[in-house]
Structures are given as structure tokens and as C-alpha cells.
């Protein structure tokens, strides 16, 4: 089940999108998300869909892989669509039954909302699928470097982020191991009611907490032993813009301009 969540996962491949500077991808994703909220007509969504399709095409990530990520957020999607259908008031009533009232405006709103959410998730997962966690934090650190001037500890935040991301697979593996160890002692995670199931998690959660703290102190010690103190560090591979990065910025600018134009129509 945990493996189904593709948000935040990296898909190793060689493509234009994979080679782009992470700063471009971060800003591009932001632009794309903003554009989704500007769009409020069919034409806008068609344009956004075309742009997203082009990006997916360029990324060499199989569409199947992207759709699998949507499965994980299906419930969230259904809830927001459901709320929009049933709770939007409007003039053109399509169906009225007891306390349920479905209006044309509601259906339209729900469709827009659903598409917006799907695009949003696909757009942002496209970024993480084509960018390694390390590149991502590198991009954040350099991209937001200007905040250092107002004493925001960007380097430390980026370091925390990359450590957190690095530890996810380790913790999943650890959970699996502890679960097996407790199952070997006769623990049962499947049967019983909700309360019983929640109680059955204690023998997993306590060791998991303890081991995360142990790992954290070990890591902190190892970092200190190598004289890590945050601060000004140089990079072995500093991020550098290439021609393709500038071109991509221009493409995104044109896309955003088009979206604003379409929204004005």
C-alpha cells in the first residue's frame, strides 16, 4: 500500500525534464499551480491539459506511473467533488430530492474542482518524479538563498528536508522488520475491531519511535564528528543554468501569459 503513493517518488530516466535545473522545475511547478487557479473556463483547462500532456511526454515517465499516484488521493478527490456537487447553490436546478439539491452550477464547479485537483497532483508529482530529493533540496536552497539576507536559515531547512526524505525508505524498512518480529511473537494486526487494531500498533510504534531517536542521535553525532556546523559551505556540484533552462523559463512565461489572457476573455 505504501508503495502506491508516487507523490515524492523519483522515477529514474533520462529526459529533458530530468536534466533541467531543479530551480526551473520548482518555479515551473509553482507557475503551473498558479495557472490552474487563474483558469475558470473550459478553454483554460484545455490549455492547461495540453501543457501538462506536453510535459509528461517530455519527461519519459509512463502515464500509468503517474495515474497510480492519483489512486492514493482518490478519497480526497471524491470528497471535494461530492461537496461541490451537493453544496453549491445555483439557479439551474437539475435534481431536487428531499434535502439534496443538485444544480448545474454545482456540477460545473465540481468538475472544475476535480480537474484542478487532478492537474495539481499530476503537475507536482511530475516534478518529484523527475527530480531526485537531493536535487530538490539543492534547488530549494539555492533558489531561496535570497531569504538568507533576512536571516531565514535556508541551509538548515534544506538539510532537514533532505535528511527527512532520506529517512523515509529506512523507516519503511524498519517498520516492516519490527512488524515481522512482533508477528513472530504472535502479534495479530488484522483481526479485531478498530480499538483492538489501534492497540495492536503499540508494539510497532514504540520500537519505531525509539529507533528513530537512536538513528537521529547517531546521525547528529556522525555529522558533528565531521565538523558539520551548517554555515557557509561550498558545493561539489553547484547548480548552474544552461541554455535549456533559460528556454524553459521563457516557455513557462509564455504559458502563464496565455493562461492570463484566456482568463480575461
Amino acid at each position: 500500500m505504501i508503495r502506491d503513493i508516487t507523490i515524492g517518488q523519483y522515477y529514474p530516466a533520462d529526459s529533458l525534464l530530468h536534466r533541467l535545473d531543479p530551480r526551473v522545475k520548482l518555479l515551473g511547478t509553482l507557475v503551473f499551480i498558479v495557472s490552474l487557479f487563474i483558469a475558470d473556463s473550459w478553454l483554460g483547462y484545455v490549455l492547461a491539459a495540453a501543457f501538462l500532456a506536453l510535459m509528461i511526454r517530455l519527461s519519459n515517465v509512463p502515464l500509468k506511473f503517474m495515474l497510480r499516484g492519483l489512486k492514493a488521493v482518490m478519497i480526497l478527490l471524491l470528497i471535494s467533488v461530492g461537496f461541490n456537487i451537493f453544496l453549491t447553490d445555483g439557479e439551474h436546478v437539475l435534481l431536487e430530492f428531499w434535502i439534496i439539491k443538485i444544480t448545474w452550477e454545482g456540477v460545473k464547479q465540481a468538475l472544475f474542482m476535480g480537474t484542478r485537483l487532478i492537474f495539481l497532483i499530476m503537475g507536482s508529482s511530475l516534478m518529484t518524479l523527475t527530480t531526485t530529493p537531493n536535487q530538490l533540496t539543492d534547488g530549494l536552497e539555492t533558489g531561496l538563498g535570497f531569504l538568507k539576507k533576512i536571516h531565514v536559515p535556508i541551509h538548515e531547512i534544506a538539510m532537514m528536508m533532505s535528511i527527512a526524505l532520506r529517512f523515509i525508505p529506512i523507516l519503511i524498512e524498519e517498520t516492516d522488520k519490527i512488524m515481522k518480529a512482533q508477528m513472530a511473537r504472535g502479534a495479530d494486526f488484522e483481526t479485531g475491531g478498530l480499538i483492538q487494531k489501534a492497540k495492536a500498533l503499540v508494539p510497532i510504534l514504540v520500537p519505531l519511535f525509539i529507533s528513530s531517536f537512536r538513528r537521529a542521535t547517531d546521525l547528529a553525532m556522525a555529522m558533528e564528528a565531521r565538523c558539520y556546523n551548517g554555515g557557509d559551505r561550498t558545493k561539489m556540484k553547484p547548480l548552474k543554468y544552461e541554455t535549456r533552462d533559460y528556454i524553459t523559463y521563457v516557455v513557462f512565461a509564455i504559458y502563464l501569459a496565455l493562461m492570463i489572457l484566456v482568463g480575461r476573455l
Binding site: A181, M183, A184, R185, G186, V202, P207, I210
Partner: protein, 283 residues
């Protein structure tokens, strides 16, 4: 008696990196044997032992416990796990209760025994690993590494298994802690007659205790026999990233130089006796 019939296990199916962890493994583990399971990291030994109590299901093949297939419908996995006790690597990482005694009670409690029996079993298991009443109310997290490990082993022993499997029980312990744990396991085997499977990558550890050694390599059983027989293949063992006990090398070197020493020597004591005999028996 546990019987493995042509067990195959592959994982990562569907992706490009499919791994064949076990290849056609067939084994018999008779009651009361003390077995050393040896292999290099990634040889499939940990995967193999997780099959024995049904934590991992084989891709193909069958496992019989006392003649019954554990994959048959209606077979109680919980029952199997109480009979085949598995102590994982670094078992102290699975401790979670507020005191030692309650933690050891976790296993028998899961078996649905009555309170009286649970307490009796926990006490007995703690005695077996050499922890007396004074430890009962201590938090497991305040104990030393070796003591924690003994608590964790007691947690499995409290289920009164017929077969005890220990995955690298001595990893990360000092020589004293290592000897204590192994001596206790050997004592259990001697006094209770339970079957013991000791997983290790150190020949030195197991040579002293076991009746039989199974060597795993690349997911297959490479050698299976009494220690003397297996150590005779010390050159092949080396190509698998393993080594025979150091004393084997001394004996082989002496034989190569023409000293008439028997080649079936696996422990330091045997070597000492043999060498003394050759050089004249004076001490």
C-alpha cells in the same frame, strides 16, 4: 520436523530488478538437532528462516511442519509461530513495554493463555536466559545491550517453541556477551531438547556448538553436513566469502609440512590435543 520442498522465492516481481532470493531449496530439519546456518550477507539465509514460520510465503514449493503443509487452507499460522520461535537480528530493537516482565509476557499473551500460565512462562523464560526477579520491574531500555538481547530472546522462549531460530544472535556483542548467549542457547538445546537453528556468518561461533552446518550461497544450499565435513571444503568456502575456523588453517598448514595430524579438527581443544600428541605429549 520441518521439511522444505523445492522452495523458491523471488521478490521485486513486475519491475526490472527481480531478485531470486531462494533457488530450489530442499531441506529437512529433524527434531532435536542443533543446526548452524551459514552464509555471506545476501546469501538468502535470513529469507530462508522467515519461511520456516510463515512470515514470508514462498513463490513456489511447499513447507511441511510435522507432515502438514503450512500453506494448506485453515493451517494456523499463529500456532506455527508459537511452535517455531524466531529471534530476529538485533532483537532488542523490538522491546516496547514499560518493564522487562511485561515485555516477555507479550508472546504468551498473544497465544491466549490464562494469566497464571503467562506469568509462569515469563518467569521461566527469564530464568532460562539468566535474569532473576530483580530485573522484572526494570525498564528494558535501562539494561545493557547484552541484557536487552537476553530479554528479547526470553520473549520468544516464553512461547515455549519446539524449534528456536536465532538470526545472528551475537551480532554487536563483545566476546563475553557472545559466549554467554551461545552457552545459554546450547544449554537450552541440551536440557530441553529443542531444535535450534543458529544463523551466523562466523564459523568460529558455530563450530563449537552445532551438530550440522548448512552453508547458503546465492540462494542455494552449497554444503550440508557435520562441521568436520563442511570445513574440509575450506577452500570453496573462501570463494563464498566465508572462512573455516582459524584452527583449521593451522592444522592444514601443519599437515602440508608433514606433521601427522588428523584433518577432522574443528576446535582449538582438539587441535591442542592432537598437536601435543604429535610433539611428544609433554606439557
Amino acid at each position: 520436523m520441518i521439511e522444505l520442498k523445492n522452495i523458491n522465492y523471488t521478490y521485486g516481481g513486475g519491475t526490472t530488478q527481480q531478485i531470486h532470493a531462494l533457488k530450489d531449496v530442499s531441506l529437512q530439519i529433524p527434531d532435536g538437532q542443533f543446526i548452524g546456518l551459514i552464509g555471506h550477507t545476501g546469501s538468502g539465509k535470513s529469507t530462508l528462516i522467515q519461511h520456516l514460520n510463515g512470515l514470508v510465503k514462498a513463490t513456489s514449493g511447499d513447507i511441511l511442519y510435522n507432515g502438514q503443509s503450512i500453506y494448506a487452507e485453515g493451517f494456523s499460522m499463529k500456532g506455527l509461530r508459537s511452535k517455531v520461535g524466531l529471534v530476529f537480528q538485533y532483537p532488542e530493537h523490538q522491546l516496547f513495554e514499560t518493564d522487562v516482565f511485561t515485555d516477555v509476557c507479550f508472546g504468551p499473551k498473544n497465544l491466549g493463555l490464562d494469566a497464571e500460565e503467562i506469568r509462569a512462562r515469563a518467569r521461566e523464560a527469564l530464568d532460562l536466559v539468566g535474569l532473576d526477579e530483580s530485573y522484572d520491574k526494570v525498564s528494558p531500555f535501562e539494561l545493557s545491550g547484552g541484557q536487552k538481547r537476553r530479554v528479547a530472546i526470553a520473549g520468544v522462549l516464553a512461547m515455549k517453541p519446539d524449534v528456536l531460530i536465532l538470526d545472528e544472535p551475537t551480532a554487536g556483542l563483545d566476546p563475553k556477551g557472545r559466549d554467554e548467549i551461545l552457552d545459554q542457547v546450547a544449554k537450552l538445546h541440551r536440557e530441553r531438547g529443542i531444535t535450534v537453528v543458529l544463523v551466523s556468518h562466523s564459523m568460529e561461533d558455530v563450530a563449537k556448538y552445532v551438530d550440522r552446518i548448512i552453508v547458503m550461497n546465492h540462494g542455494q544450499v552449497a554444503f550440508d553436513g557435520v562441521p568436520k565435513e563442511v570445513f574440509r571444503h575450506y577452500q570453496e568456502l573462501e570463494t563464498m566469502g566465508l572462512a573455516a575456523p582459524q584452527v583449521t588453517y593451522i592444522v592444514q598448514a601443519l599437515r602440508a609440512k608433514g606433521f601427522p595430524i588428523g584433518e577432522d579438527i574443528t576446535t582449538v581443544e582438539e587441535a591442542k590435543a592432537a598437536i601435543l600428541q604429535v610433539v611428544g605429549g609433554k606439557r
